[in-house]
C-alpha cells in the first residue's frame, strides 16, 4: 500500500486513527558512541578501537504495521515484553516519527503512558497540577477552570499546598492520576490500566477512567492482563516482535492467543 494513498473518508467530527505500513527503527548507541572525544580519537586512529562498545546498532521495533480505528473502537494491545506495544503507543502520541509508512490521527490525543510525566517532587501539589495541566495542552485559563475539580478529586485537601516529596507514594499517585485524567481527549493511549491508591480511591479512579474512556472516541490500551482487555476493549491486536496481527473482535481473543505466532 502506498503511503501517499488518500486518507479514508471519515466524518469530520469523529476521531480516527489510521496507520499504514508503519516501520520504526531505533539507533541504539553503545556507551562510547555517546562520546565525541572517543569518536574523534577513533577517527584519528583509523577506527581500530574496540568496535563492540563503540558500535551503534539499529533495532527494528515495529515492522510494516497497519491499523485503522474509528470512534467507538477500544483496542487492546497484547504481546510479550519487547514486542513493540509501548513503541506503538509512543508513535501514536506523536513522539516517535515513522521511518516508513504513515500515521494519521484526528482528535486530541491524551497519552497516559507515564503518570509521573512532568511531575516535580519539590513543587507543591497545586503547582504540579498547574504544570502537568499545561504540559497536557491546557491553557492557563483552562487549568484555572479545572483546578477546583482536580483538587477535589485528589481528596488531598490542605496537603495540596505542601511539596509533593512530603506525600506518601499513594498520595503522589492520586495527584498524578487526577491531573493526568483531567484532560478531555478524543484519543486515549494507555500503557497498562492505571490502578492507584487505596481501595476507596481505586473505586472512584475506576469510575473516572471509565468516564474518560466513554467520552474519548478511541482507546488504545496495552496490557498483559487479559481480563482487563476483555472488560474494557472491543477489539484486540496481538504484537509479536514488532509485527502486528490483524485487528479482531475481543470475542476472538482466545483464538488470537492460540496462534503460534503472528509471523
Amino acid at each position: 500500500m502506498s503511503p501517499r494513498a488518500p486518507s479514508p473518508p471519515a466524518r469530520p467530527d469523529q476521531a480516527f486513527i489510521s496507520v499504514r505500513g508503519l516501520t520504526l527503527r531505533f539507533p541504539v548507541y553503545g556507551y562510547d558512541a555517546k562520546s565525541l572525544k572517543k569518536h574523534l580519537a577513533r577517527v584519528a586512529v583509523g577506527g581500530r578501537l574496540d568496535q563492540a562498545r563503540h558500535g551503534s546498532t539499529t533495532v527494528t521495533a515495529i515492522t510494516g504495521l497497519d491499523l485503522e480505528l474509528r470512534a467507538g473502537d477500544r483496542l487492546g494491545l497484547i504481546g510479550h515484553n519487547g514486542s513493540g506495544k509501548t513503541t506503538l503507543l509512543r508513535a501514536l502520541s506523536g513522539a516517535y516519527e515513522p521511518d516508513e509508512g504513515q500515521i494519521e490521527v484526528r482528535g486530541k490525543i491524551a497519552p497516559l503512558l507515564d503518570l509521573s510525566l512532568g511531575i516535580d517532587p519539590t513543587a507543591t501539589g497545586l503547582e504540579n497540577i498547574r504544570l502537568r495541566g499545561r504540559i497536557a495542552g491546557l491553557s492557563a485559563r483552562q487549568v484555572d477552570d479545572k483546578m477546583d475539580e482536580i483538587a477535589a478529586f485528589t481528596g488531598l485537601g490542605p496537603f495540596l499546598a505542601m511539596p509533593l516529596k512530603t506525600y506518601s507514594s499513594g498520595m503522589q499517585a492520586r495527584l498524578a492520576f487526577a491531573v493526568a485524567t483531567a484532560v478531555d481527549a478524543d484519543v486515549l493511549l494507555m500503557d497498562e490500566w492505571i490502578a492507584v491508591g487505596d481501595a476507596d480511591f481505586q473505586k472512584i479512579a475506576h469510575q473516572r477512567l471509565l468516564g474518560l474512556v466513554e467520552r474519548a472516541g478511541i482507546l488504545v490500551l496495552a496490557s498483559h492482563d487479559l481480563d482487563l482487555i476483555r472488560l474494557y476493549c472491543n477489539k484486540v491486536m496481538r504484537m509479536d516482535a514488532g509485527v502486528g496481527s490483524e485487528v479482531v473482535s475481543v470475542k476472538a481473543l482466545d483464538e488470537l492467543l492460540a496462534r503460534p505466532s503472528v509471523r
Binding site: P27, V105, L117
Partner: protein, 278 residues
Amino acid sequence: MEITEHMLRTGSRGFRDDLARALEDLRRSGQGLGLAWSLAWHDVVSRYRGSILGPFWITLSMAVMVLGIGFLYAELQNIPLATTLPFVALGIVFWGLISQTIIEGCESFVQASGMLSQTALPMLTFVWRTVLRNLAALLHHMVIVVAVIIGFGLWRTLNLPLALAGLVLVLINISWMCLLTAIISARFRDIPQIVMSIMQFSMFMTPVFWQPGARVGMMDAVLTWNPFFHMLDAIRAPLMGLAPEASTFPVLIGMALIGWVVAFGLFTVTRRRIVHYL
C-alpha cells in the same frame, strides 16, 4: 463538536519535506510560547525554592562580584572607579545571560527526554524554555543595571533604543547557539563539559571586566574575531553612552543569519532522531 487536532506523520520524504516539518515545529512552538514560559518560570521558582531572596541570591552574588572586581580592576588598570564599575557591572550581568544560556542549552533536550518521548510537544519549545528562563534571571539582575545607571549618572547619556536593539540581536544569536548545543549534547554526552570549558576560556578572552586597550596586534585580533565581544558591546556601549564598534551590529546580524541557517539546518536533518538520542 468539531475536532481541530489532526496529526499526520510520515517517513522521511527528503530534505524539503523535513524542512517543512521543522518549520511546522517552529510555528507550533511559537504558538505554545505560553507553555515554554510556564516551564521556564517553574524552573526559576523551583530552583530557588526555600530561599528568602529567591533568584535575587544570584543577583546578590553578582553584585558582590561586581564590587570586588570593579575596585580591583580600577586599581590594576589605573582607571577611575566611575568608569570601571559600570563597565564591569554591565559586563558581568550580560555575560551571565550569554554564557548561562549557551551552557544550559546543552540540557534543553536531555532534561526534557520524558516529555519528548511520549508527547507531541514541539521540540523547539524546550529551547525557548532555556532562553526564557535566562531572560527571567536577567530581569532580576536588572536591579544591578538600574542601580549602576542611576548611581553613575549613565541615564544622562545612554541610548536605550540602541541597547534594546542590541539585546534583541544577542537573544536571537544565543537562541541558535542554544539550539545547536541542545542537539549536539543530546547526541554526544561529553559536549556539556566542552561547552563549559569554551565559555570559561571566552570569559577571559572577552573584555568582560578588563577594558580593551589600543587595538593593535593581539588585542585587535581578540576583539575583531571574538563573537562574544560584539554581543557584549552591542548592549554595553549604548548603555554607557558610547557608540558601539562600527562592525558590531553588522557582525551580529550576519552571525544571526548564518547561525540560524546552520542550527536550523542541523535541526531539520536530525529532528526525527533526536528523541532516540535521549
